[in-house]
């Protein structure tokens, strides 16, 4: 297809701006990666953005297994697994309960269910800081303060508002006639959910799982407030690692630890991100 010189010029400008913007956003990450691959000698003598003279994974090994956090020098691996043990149950429970909530709010409405739903939605707008004290006291009474279990409970409760909203809005786009037909076919509440509704819910499950996973993995405030010592998630450990100074500041170790802490969410986004966008717009355009 022939293009006018003006159109080509426009394209060039457009791509230039996009590439510059992409570089601008990627440079900090690049600096992190480069720094994490340098030795301390290299860092002391070179520039911030110079390439490593010798690529070494020592900093990664140290960050993972032997860096000092507080008085313990075992790296962030224990805390990384804390996060994993916290995120998986919290994401699954809040997503499944959100699916059930959304199913009820859209297909089994009862007197006052809209009001109930609006109240639940308020949960999306409550700032984390507001509930710190009451939640701390609640966890204390339940006997799960300072534990991974406590964090799972907090994140599940806090996530329900969002997951219920996701699923409810998705299920509203599924025709009610499907549920009616299944009722006449003799199926009850759970059979309809299991056999008819869940099989068509995969896009919204992906959305909910990515959203919850990112929120819970990246959370710092609940982690720092409701965990202690051995139950800290990786975000809190990272902060402590960077703030633990024994003589020299090991930038390469800090950077490696930061990348490790961020890898899971990055991984999830890259692998299933396209489903996320697809799922978010699924209800908007009827297909």
């Amino acid at each position: 297809m022939y293009q006018t010189p003006g159109a080509i010029f426009g394209r060039v400008i457009l791509y230039s701006i996009l590439i510059i913007a992409a570089i601008y956003f990627l440079i900090p990450f690049l600096v992190m990666v480069i720094t994490s691959l340098k030795s301390m000698n290299d860092i002391r003598t070179g520039y911030l953005i110079s390439w490593p003279r010798e690529v070494t994974l020592d900093a990664w090994k140290e960050a993972w297994g032997s860096a000092c956090i507080g008085v313990k020098c075992e790296g962030i691996k224990g805390y990384f697994w804390n996060s994993v043990r916290m995120v998986i149950p919290a994401v699954l429970i809040s997503t499944i309960m959100g699916a059930a909530n959304g199913y009820v709010f859209s297909k089994w409405r009862f007197r006052g269910s809209e009001t109930f739903f609006s109240c639940l939605l308020l949960g999306c707008f409550i700032p984390f800081q507001v509930i710190l004290l009451p939640m701390a006291s609640t966890l204390g009474r339940l006997g799960i303060a300072q534990s991974v279990t406590g964090l799972i409970v907090v994140h599940t409760v806090y996530g329900l508002a969002f997951t219920s909203l996701f699923f409810r809005n998705f299920y509203v786009t599924i025709p009610d006639a499907l549920v009616k037909a299944a009722k006449i076919d003799g199926a009850g509440f759970f059979r309809i959910f299991w056999k008819i509704i869940l099989p068509v819910s995969i896009p919204i499950f992906v959305v909910s799982i990515i959203w919850q996973m990112t929120q819970i993995w990246n959370d710092f405030l609940f982690g720092v407030a409701f965990s202690g010592g051995d139950s800290q998630p990786v975000t809190v450990a990272l902060n402590n690692l960077v703030n633990t100074s024994t003589g020299v500041k090991k930038y390469n170790v800090d950077m490696a630890a930061a990348i490790i802490a961020g890898l899971p969410t990055l991984f999830v986004y890259i692998v299933v991100g396209k489903y996320f966008l697809r799922g978010l717009t699924a209800g908007a355009v009827k297909g």
Binding site: P175, A177, A187
Partner: protein, 372 residues
């Protein structure tokens, strides 16, 4: 198979009464069509029969069993939805089997039923497809197949043809009629299309504003509509409603028709003259079907019910077999059905014959039929 009896049924959503005192009864094997404009309550009534909504007061009986408080699945009914409502994640085979599996029918019997239904509806080659891979007409068949597989006492159809294109709709209409003749199950069929109602029904219930206007056989409803609404709703083109004044000429009661240019024709109304005395010099509405005003009728010379008028043609609409002629009578636009070869051009005068044997008079205030 079962009869269906609906007695004094009311339904209100909050303070809004949607159905007011519905009474219907159809015998086992009959096809009842509920027809009316949107918002008349016909779909709500169907949902009440299905048990998807609860009734406010009254009684619904399927066979000899009152089903007011029985859940949909235990009412022995099956329903075909306007949107088909096929389970999108299941293949056609599983769609047909779902209701049977839920009822714990043995697998061998399910397979047998699927084969039988698929054969009846000619969907055998579609059994392993998903609903998204089917055309509209095929989905329609599968939806009917799902209902057939259950072999219920009563079938409920909720506007099943309105999502199909015009040609397919006519084909499926005939198929539904054939199907009904073959299986002879009681059917309740909801539609807003009066032609569907006329062609399919053993009995029609015409509804408006939550009230049944008339409940009768299609021919009775066409020939003897009980009020203006029913008369205007059934029939295409619809019945002409000509405002007139009852007059007495000699010993005859009748109406005058003004056809323009000062021409006036007297139309005797003999069949109900007994009750028309009270209407002399009062406004009345003459209802007459388009096919009763034509270029001519067989045996018109001898028939005292057929009268001749002179009129100017306004517009012609050829339909092929007939041409619809638009004229003005008493300053009201009137449609007539005439032979294409016998009509004059617009603007020219034409002689039309009016057969008043089935003309109907309506009270313009109550809109009810007069003197029936």
């Amino acid at each position: 198979m079962a009869s269906l009896t609906i007695t004094d049924v009311n339904k209100a959503f909050g303070l809004v009464a949607v159905l007011k005192g519905i009474n219907l009864r159809i015998e086992s094997g009959e096809l009842l069509v509920l027809v009316g404009p949107s918002g008349c309550g016909k779909s709500t009534l169907l949902n009440l029969i299905a048990g998807l909504e609860s009734i406010t007061s009254g009684e619904i009986k399927i066979g000899d069993r009152v089903v007011n408080n029985i859940r949909p699945k235990d009412r022995d009914i099956a329903m075909v939805f306007q949107s088909y409502a096929l389970y999108p994640n299941m293949k056609v085979r599983q769609n047909l089997a779902f209701g049977l599996e839920t009822r714990r029918v043995p697998a061998a019997q399910i397979e047998e039923t699927i084969q039988r239904v698929a054969h009846t509806l000619q969907i055998s080659e579609l059994l392993d497809r998903k609903p998204s891979q089917l055309s509209g007409g095929q989905r329609q068949r599968v939806a009917m197949g799902r209902a057939l597989a259950r072999d219920p006492a009563v079938f409920l159809f909720d506007e099943p043809l309105s999502n199909l294109d015009a040609k397919l709709r006519v084909e499926m209409r005939t198929e539904i009629k054939l199907l009904h003749q073959r299986i002879k199950t009681t059917i309740v069929y909801v539609t807003h299309d009066q032609i569907e109602a006329m062609t399919l029904a053993d009995r029609i219930a015409i509804m408006k504003d939550g009230i049944i206007q008339q409940f009768d056989t299609p021919q009775q409803i066409y020939d003897n509509p009980s009020n203006l609404f029913v008369a205007g709703f059934i029939g295409s083109p619809s019945m002409n409603f000509i405002p007139c004044r009852i007059a007495k000429r000699g010993q005859q009661l009748g109406v005058f028709l003004e056809t323009g240019n000062g021409r006036s024709f007297f139309l005797p109304m003999e069949q109900s003259s007994m009750k028309l005395d009270a209407w002399i010099d009062r406004e009345i509405i003459l209802g007459i079907r388009p096919e009763k005003i034509s270029h001519g009728f067989a045996g018109q010379r001898e028939n005292p019910q057929i009268h001749e008028i002179e009129i100017v043609v306004k517009v012609l609409e050829p339909t092929g077999p007939d041409t619809i002629v638009f004229v003005d009578i008493n300053n009201k636009e009137v449609t007539c059905r005439a032979n294409p070869n016998a009509v004059k051009h617009p603007g020219e005068p034409m002689t039309l014959m009016i057969d008043v044997s089935q003309a109907i008079l309506f009270d313009p205030e109550t809109e009810e039929r007069v003197g029936a």
